[in-house]
Symmetry: C3
Subunit: 163 residues, 3 copies
């Protein structure tokens, strides 16, 4: 590993962070720019598989588009290996929380991602992304008396109403 390799690795991390931020902020055009046209994805620990950027984006826009779907996808522990000058693989540890205010449900889980990246016209893009879950659990919000949302990105402009 050289200092120049670290620059490439940092650029790949930036790609992943932009991808994750775009999901949680619902910036679908920015999310789309993270993939190559032929990208593949494997979500839900393999429950959902998509071939092609259009299919991935259709799934994301449809399943996570509502502003009552509040999510926090966080990726950690990047183990990124450069494979030649324009290809790389990456393992990441995911933790995600989803709050479905419409359905009164919280979902949280942990997983490990196995990604593949390619450099196209000087810019790193996602060629494949997919994860396998360590665990995932679901909970009806009504089961916890007094559980209350005090801030939401859209409904309160991200401002806390606590205190």
């Amino acid at each position: 590993m050289t200092p120049e390799d670290l620059v490439e690795i940092e650029l790949i991390k930036r790609l992943k962070y932009r991808y994750l931020r775009s999901i949680d902020q619902k910036l679908w055009d920015e999310l789309e720019s993270c993939f190559i046209p032929g990208a593949t994805a494997r979500y839900g620990g393999g429950r959902y598989e998509f071939a092609g950027r259009d299919d991935i984006m259709e799934f994301c826009r449809t399943s996570m588009g509502a502003t009552t779907f509040l999510s926090s996808h966080r990726c950690h522990h990047p183990e990124i290996d450069l494979v030649g000058s324009d290809e790389a693989t990456g393992t990441w540890a995911l933790e995600d929380t989803v709050i479905l205010t419409d359905f009164g449900l919280n979902i949280q889980g942990a997983a490990f991602y196995e990604d593949r990246y390619v450099k196209v016209d000087g810019e790193w893009k996602i060629a494949h992304t997919g994860y396998r879950r360590t665990y995932e659990e679901i909970m009806p919000r009504a089961s916890i008396g007094g559980l209350k949302l005090t801030a939401e990105w859209w409904a309160t402009d991200g401002r806390s109403t606590l205190g």
Copy 2:
């Protein structure tokens, strides 16, 4: 981006990690050293705004000073851009948990930070920090039968009493 840029970026990350550790360990003097005198902050997703390091520190010391206020503030996904040689911006994904043992409450949330950093006398400092929440929720601890704290930084010297 050059290897030399990466050194500056790493130093800015270190500043942020020191800032976050100082909050959760209640090291107020160390926290104070992270800011320039004219720093501004926007906490609670914009509910609280402060101008000047003294006002920020007064808020931190007062609102988070009690050892019955147990917190875990974790920042992820650094997207740091150098703007010239002595200024930088940074976006971070926050997840935080706060346990108020006095009030019997748990609070947890997610947010995105937008920070500004400046280099003064060769050392990076926070010029502005602030976040907008994706969500925040509060829960009375008594709503979950059998929920029990088994370690606390101050009350048990950080030692687990489990098992």
Copy 3:
């Protein structure tokens, strides 16, 4: 700090990520390769102390070996300092969740690690690892009506059964 230092720091981060992934995926041989023979560890915020890799591994294999023990150990905020060319120290912020399906319990906590690393035959290894907890709490899963696991690494091959 130089770009060459950053390479060493990245290699140490990679060691830590491999260590954490090995724990959550129960890859005990890979975990063992992270330690020097004389490594020491301090888990449970000091409740458990081990001297020697064999003792550490015996504890890990025994206490976390069951596939009904589902864990997510995530380390953040690396503050790594090189001490000469073959030694380094590191502070990390931990968040961990453990689900014991056999016992119907969830445990979650936060802590700060203080590690020591050494470079042996060109490879970084853990010489000491240990943490002190900010908090740790335990919860009977039966206390939340409708709380349900929808994916497990081993029981469902990491595949979600949701939806």
